[in-house]
Structure formats: structure tokens, C-alpha cells
């Protein structure tokens, strides 16, 4: 009986020591300029920007490889107006990410957009399948699809901040 107990104990210790430890980190992308030149017409208008994945710098810093990565999602997406205007001209904004090799992902929507504010938080999607694949690409496109309430001569000129939640194995 004692032998059996010792065997189970050693087996447990062995399994625990071999198991991978999963950690989590927030990678932030700051101050991206997302732009479309006016005139803008009532209805759907799009603006986009291109940015580099923050993953390479993170992997280098931690001494990890792509194989260590478990999952990724967009946990926060914030838009603010670049000038002294507010969001009153917008009725809704949805956000997507895409790259040359990975299909476009919906990352969230805000509908309706509140009035008299100059910063909004996009409600992020619960289902985010390929964010990790996207982040493995060097060049990523962020696309904002904005519904505009009326024709206007102004530009879409927004600042984008995003937080990516990354899960990774440390062993």
C-alpha cells in the first residue's frame, strides 16, 4: 500500500514538473493614426491604417519562440478623435483586423456611438479565432467601418489604441 502511495506521489511530482506553465501578458499598440480623406458621404465609410505586430519585440524580450504562444485576443480597443472634434458625426463604428495571409477578423463594434465624447471604447467580440495568426504576420491592417450620419467635408481622423491579451507557455 505504501509503495503504491509513493508511486502515485512521484508520478504526480514528475507530471507537475514537466507540465507547461502558462502566463498572460497585455501587449499595447498606441497612438495609431486611422485616416480617410473627406468628403464623406452619409452611410458607410472606411478608414484604415497599417501597423507592425508587437509580437516580435515581445518574443525577443522574453527569449521565447512562436511555439511558446498559446492564444491571443483583442481585449481593448479605444478610438479617440485626433482634433478638437467629437464623435457626433458617427452613428456606429465597427473594427476589423486583416493581413496579406490571414483572413479579416471582426474585433468589435460600437452601436450607437455616444454623443459629445472624444474617446470611445469599442465593444470587443467574444469570438476571436485568428488573432494569434494575425499577430504572427509582420504587417497588419486595422480597418474602421464608420457609419456617418450626414454628408460632411471633414476627414475620418482617429487615434487607435489596442490591447492584445497574449497567453504563452514559459517552459
Amino acid at each position: 500500500m505504501k509503495l503504491y502511495f509513493l508511486f502515485i506521489l512521484f508520478l504526480s511530482i514528475f507530471l507537475i514538473s514537466c507540465s507547461k506553465k502558462t502566463s498572460e501578458i497585455d501587449l499595447k499598440i498606441d497612438n495609431l493614426s486611422i485616416f480617410a480623406e473627406g468628403e464623406l458621404y452619409e452611410g458607410s465609410n472606411s478608414a484604415q491604417c497599417e501597423f507592425e505586430s508587437p509580437l516580435n519585440a515581445f518574443l525577443k524580450e522574453k527569449g521565447l519562440t512562436i511555439e511558446n504562444l498559446v492564444s491571443a485576443s483583442v481585449s481593448e480597443c479605444e478610438l479617440s478623435v485626433a482634433d478638437s472634434n467629437n464623435f457626433n458625426i458617427y452613428s456606429s463604428i465597427s473594427m476589423q483586423l486583416t493581413s496579406e495571409k490571414v483572413e479579416m477578423q471582426n474585433i468589435g463594434v460600437l452601436n450607437p456611438v455616444p454623443e459629445n465624447v472624444n474617446t470611445i471604447l469599442i465593444k470587443t467580440a467574444e469570438k476571436q479565432d485568428n488573432i494569434l495568426q494575425l499577430l504572427k504576420e509582420n504587417k497588419i491592417f486595422a480597418v474602421a467601418d464608420a457609419n456617418i450620419k450626414k454628408d460632411t467635408a471633414m476627414n475620418i481622423d482617429l487615434k487607435l489604441k489596442m490591447t492584445f491579451k497574449i497567453k504563452y507557455n514559459t517552459k
Binding site: 484604415q48 452613428s91 456606429s92 486583416t98 463594434v109 452601436n111 467601418d145 457609419n147
Partner: protein, 154 residues
């Protein structure tokens, strides 16, 4: 000296042919860009290019309001319940198409907001200003084709 000049000339001519050929391919591919109307006439789709791929979004709806809520239609059948608040006007239903030569754009998907399903899709330009859009699951034989006409904005 003359040989050097000649080889330079050849290099320039070769580069010009390459660039010209590339531009021609790009022009062919970009014929997809524009405003299109499906055969049922219920919507209009604007196709644009992001990076090297083509995407289409709904920019006009014949009936923009939901008959039940009397508000602007939203993507109420999305399998992701958190995204059912996305307005249909502006919704990207065509995604990730690459030009494959012979007037065909493939590798993309089409979304049917009426049932919340994403289908594989291939687009062919049979004649100028008419697209053949085939949505399918798995193999191309199991699908449905619709004809979209180009809308000319005056």
C-alpha cells in the same frame, strides 16, 4: 562601350516590360473595385482593396429598417451574439479575395446575413460589368451562383 550601352538599354527595356506586365495584371484585378447590385436588387455592395486583397461591404439597402424594431437593420443572425449589434449597412460580406488570373477572384468568403452563415466564395467576371458570385460549402459543386451587375454612379 557600345556593348555596355546596349546591355543597359536591354536592361531598361526588360524592366519596362516587367513593370508594364505587372501593371496590366493589377489593372485587370482592380476591375472588381466598384459598386455592385445582386440580382434580387435588395442591396448594393461596394468592393474595395485593402493591401492586395478585395473586400465588399453593404452600402445601400432597399429596406434599411427592421420591420419589427423600426430601427436600422443589424446583423441579428450572427453566431457570435456579441456582434449582433453590427449595422448591416456597412457590413463586410465579401472578404479576402485574391485575383487568380482569367477574370477570377478566389480564396474569399461571402456572408449571408439572412442566416448568419459564411460560405467559401469564388467570383468570376463573365462579361464587363457582370459578376458571377458562387457561394459554396466545401466543394464548388455544392453551392449557389448569383449574378451581380455594376452600378454606375452618376
Amino acid at each position: 562601350m557600345n556593348m555596355l550601352k546596349l546591355s543597359k538599354l536591354f536592361s531598361i527595356a526588360f524592366m519596362a516590360i516587367l513593370v508594364f506586365g505587372f501593371n496590366q495584371e493589377e489593372n485587370k484585378a482592380d476591375r472588381l473595385i466598384g459598386l455592385w447590385e445582386p440580382s434580387n436588387g435588395k442591396s448594393r455592395i461596394k468592393i474595395e482593396k485593402i493591401g492586395t486583397k478585395y473586400y465588399g461591404k453593404i452600402v445601400w439597402l432597399k429596406e434599411p429598417l427592421d420591420p419589427t424594431t423600426k430601427k436600422a437593420k443589424v446583423d441579428k443572425n450572427n453566431v457570435d451574439t456579441s456582434m449582433r449589434n453590427v449595422p448591416l449597412k456597412g457590413y463586410r460580406i465579401l472578404k479576402d479575395f485574391n485575383y487568380k488570373e482569367k477574370d477570377e477572384w478566389s480564396d474569399g468568403t461571402i456572408y449571408d446575413p439572412e442566416n448568419g452563415t459564411v460560405y467559401s466564395c469564388v467570383i468570376n467576371m463573365k462579361e464587363n460589368n457582370v459578376l458571377s458570385i458562387r457561394g459554396y460549402i466545401g466543394v464548388k459543386a455544392l453551392g449557389r451562383t448569383d449574378s451581380w451587375k455594376k452600378v454606375t454612379v452618376k
